[in-house]
Symmetry: D2
Subunit: 349 residues, 4 copies
């Protein structure tokens, strides 16, 4: 096998390159015309070849993983951190202010220290510009940013599904979310319940009862667009697939809401967004539509009997939900076209 | 391969033996000590061997499928109908009143003709004793019955998950349900979206916005136990597995409800039920726990932040959700032990 | 949930009850009319409840796992060992000669110490009666036995597929086997390549080039029926399913072999076997036919262009390939009907 | 959702755009920098929007499918035919000699009319340049070609796996192949055995005994490189995944062959090939390595006990096995860089 493609302008380091988020960052960056891949680092996998962990990335198979330290990550134009939560602050503090640091972890997502302490425990590390350009007003805050907190995968899906209704006052601030994720959302951790034998052929619940850590992030985002506090009841499920999130989000409809008015609000919200795709009426999202793509596939309905808005959205948790979203925001921060290097089309069937 | 097992007391005919519900009825009846398998009938598959359609049922492989008519079904102690909706009434009308007729279809489930017409269209066929023994008071109605309407798979799951809360007044009559089903729930119909290539690796939504036909059945059951009208917002999903339903059901908690009081209500509801299994605290349902079994695995939580009761339940849609539930009710109707011939344990991993 | 079923005559202990083989033994024994479940033991999981490891086995959820020692296993009529290889000999040596010990591990399968040392390393523990009743002459050796070595899952499949041809001299002793297994064949070990994210949507090869430990066991079995040495080239694959083995086995056809003569030999081999099912001509095995069943589904063809016999077989690796096969042989050893407690029918779809 | 990307130099029509091969052609062409997408045609789906059939291709969702006729396909620089076999000749005959016609079907793959008639029946349509650039000498034949027969998916895998051994005389011309494919290999045909309920959780055999139509194509390719007739015994399997082929190919080793000499031959064969990736020693192919990519992942071993060469290869049946291979050859025919627009990296996990 021969090699091709030279990098160009900017160089990126990836911390956590042997994990699933790291692998997806690399897959996308290999096709990015303006970002070259620099140092690859890892924790316990340092010293081994990337090919042992990411065998699908042929051109990088022989690259040896370095230790994740400020030294190995220094000297790059941008650094992607894909680390367990709690580790990003120390690293980021030692990278210069002129380096773009994009944190795929949770450390800098929440503005409210109390919410952080309640859901994550320990001290709140701070708040960075939140990497969801579709959130009203957020795109401008990301242009030129040097620190970006990449949203969680579920909050990405839920925020994109409900912001049009809540921003327009078409639904009450009392949201119920039930979402199914593929197993890569749990990372590469070696837990018995993540073994293939356990997950294939089975859907299971976890983190039920308002305890999932992504809950306050959903409430923060939706509260910001609604202009008042929003409560989210969130139940996640593990589905027998490697990738993808399908989220069903519902809230009481505003009095007098009509189906055409609801549709119109969603059309307006989606029409200038490169990665938010409102499906034609009658077609419902499937995660396969977005596999490997940075696209979110969205549909909305008004359940007149039950008096509820129901929005359903599909994303790839590793692409739009993590690595693709990270690159989308990084493009903005670097002054590049927001869409650069990001696939629009799913790999299906 | 040699053959074994002689039948015993009663003989059952199965109409629709080449479909998924028919196959599961046969799998269970082959292990039932008191029911012998009689005529097997089909629609367009009449005249072919069962082995071409149900290759997992070795002992019946050579049985030839008859036409589904009152004549081929006559002369049995019980008849299971697993037919497309709309076909059961004509057949049942020609089977004698002393024959136990168990309809796995929708025709006789709903008491309200208006609900039937709204969701199914056409004339309402009538109402038969509803085959969910766990519903308070229902077990007695099924003893000695000669007609049984087997509940839909989703209503089975949702009713079992929410009746303890609603019967005890612990939740408001405003329920949100999001449930994932395996593809066998859609039957053997040859539709492109049911092809393996489409469903593997993907979760998709369908029937969103209050249009799924199982909605009024859920409202009927839960309304009966609550003693007042209950509204259900129901969103189904198709998951990449052959069997299983995982339903998340949530409703606003009654004022002042405590987690121990909620748990106690569920413990009381489950403790004498042979097929309703309340999991230990901290363990959440997975459909694999119930694969091939007549068991429902249930868990409940109080989300104090969002003020909601959240119940999650797993069943096998073909077993407890269809064929196993049908046999459980038939056992009662026939004066047999309710549990006879019904597996308690899932096939896992 | 209420409990039912009392045990009857004999009591069995299971060592390794928290693993996949142990779980399948328990699932089958729960439905066995003559064997009661006694002590359940484990290694590092000792002291925890079985329900944490085998959540599909509702009636045993509260049973606490004991340490695996000769003491905890003593006092039973039979003991099933489902342990990592190398551990069975020490335990078995301390169990009395009147106890039936059924070893699901590899320790006592091979007759040839040199083969053991080459493939497993270390000292050969000895040879016990081989628990494959279908092997010509073997059923008699198992009646009344007090020690049984349960065959490996792949050797079970391959031996059943090829013994009719080799015993009748219809194929040359030069067999090529390529077999796909579900992931439960690898046990519950926490390896990255067994994570759901890795195995779903992917078939992979492993143990290629004649190094898989089941190879000498296949050669031993087929050599015994052929009456001369048989060479097996064996390549295993991991398939995205929890259970099942599909093995394609091929060898050069004997000169002048006709398709009817080949079929006849297979019909003769299968006709008195309760668990060996030769499919009708034109139907090919699928693992779903045998999921959860003790049945092997077999088909054979003569490829006249290539001059080869091609036999394809499906089994459930945990049932016929491990726990079901173990109980089948135990039934013989205990003087019970060979078929007792063993499902014939797969759980499908 | 906004639209982007303008086409450039050449325009391509796709016949059969609503099928799986057509969808993959479109997914790849949407990212191809030198080929613009022109007319999209279909059979019974003509008149409907592409989005109903290929919902993962967001930018083309509104494109209406035309009838597949010479007229709708005329006026393009190149035409991809993804039609049921037997339909390509008539269409191609009416497209000018200056149009590049790339047939993804079987009609023009075989040189031997007798083999065509034996395996396909009916009259042989002819022979076009065979689109497998890796086959020795073939790359030159494809440069400037105006007609290309795209290889079958299995023959692509098997030829790439075995040509290094056979070209170098390292293996006897007596090859056994067992290969597992994802269900998309069977196309979008509405057959019961392709329903998700049937294929999930199950591996099955089909086309056993030397009857699969891809057999003579393998023999043709391998015979050409070996310089003498090669016999292939081929058994295909259907695996529970949407995409991917994993083929195990084995043949008797040449006398005296050493493992290093075998490895060297494979290294030499792969080293200048952009899409043939010989894995490092000790790593074995998985289809996930190549999902959505035009890469073949290959490994080889010498089984010294059995005296056989064993080569295992993974490809994506829709990419390298169909649409990617088609574009690779079209690139050569059009004088473009062979690698243009073709992904190297799999989408994993």
């Amino acid at each position: 096998m021969t090699m091709q493609r030279a990098g160009s302008g900017m160089r990126a380091a990836i911390a956590g390159a042997s994990g699933y988020a790291g692998g997806e960052l690399l897959r996308l960056l290999l096709a990015h015309p303006e970002i070259e891949i620099g140092a690859l680092t890892a924790g316990s996998n340092a010293g081994t070849a990337l090919g042992a962990h990411q065998p699908h990335l042929a051109p990088l198979a022989d690259r040896v993983l370095l230790d994740t330290t400020a030294e190995t990550l220094a000297g790059h134009d941008l650094v992607f951190l894909a680390l367990p939560h709690g580790q990003s602050a120390a690293i980021a503090g030692r990278l210069g202010d002129d380096t773009l640091v994009v944190d795929c972890g949770a450390d800098f997502r929440l503005a409210d220290p109390a919410a952080w302490e309640h859901f994550y425990g320990g001290a709140h590390a701070g708040t960075w510009p939140y990497g969801l350009p579709e959130l009203p007003g957020q795109r401008e805050r990301l242009r030129g940013a040097r620190r970006i907190a990449v949203p969680g995968c579920y909050p990405t899906a839920v925020t994109l599904a409900m912001f049009p209704a809540l921003a327009a006052g078409l639904a009450a601030p009392d949201v119920v979310v039930v979402a199914a994720t593929g197993t890569s959302g749990a990372g590469k951790s070696l837990k018995p319940n993540l073994l293939g034998s356990e997950v294939m052929g089975s859907v299971s619940a976890y983190g039920v009862g308002g305890v999932h850590r992504h809950t306050p992030e959903m409430e923060q985002n939706l509260g910001a667009v609604a202009g008042r506090p929003v409560t989210v009841s969130f139940t996640p499920m593990l589905a027998p697939m490697s990738r993808g999130i399908l989220a069903t989000c519902t809230a009481p409809a505003a009095p007098g809401l009509s189906a055409p008015a609801l549709r119109e609000a969603y059309e307006a919200a989606a029409k200038d967004e490169p990665f938010l795709r409102l499906l034609p009426e009658g077609q419902w999202p499937a995660t396969s539509m977005t596999l490997g793509a940075n696209t979110a596939a969205l549909q909305v309905a008004l359940d007149e009997r039950a008096g509820r808005v129901v929005a359903v959205i599909a994303i790839d948790n590793l692409t739009k939900g993590t690595a693709g979203g990270a690159i989308q925001s990084a493009n903005l921060a670097l002054g590049l076209s927001e869409e650069l290097g990001l696939p629009l089309n799913g790999v299906a069937p």
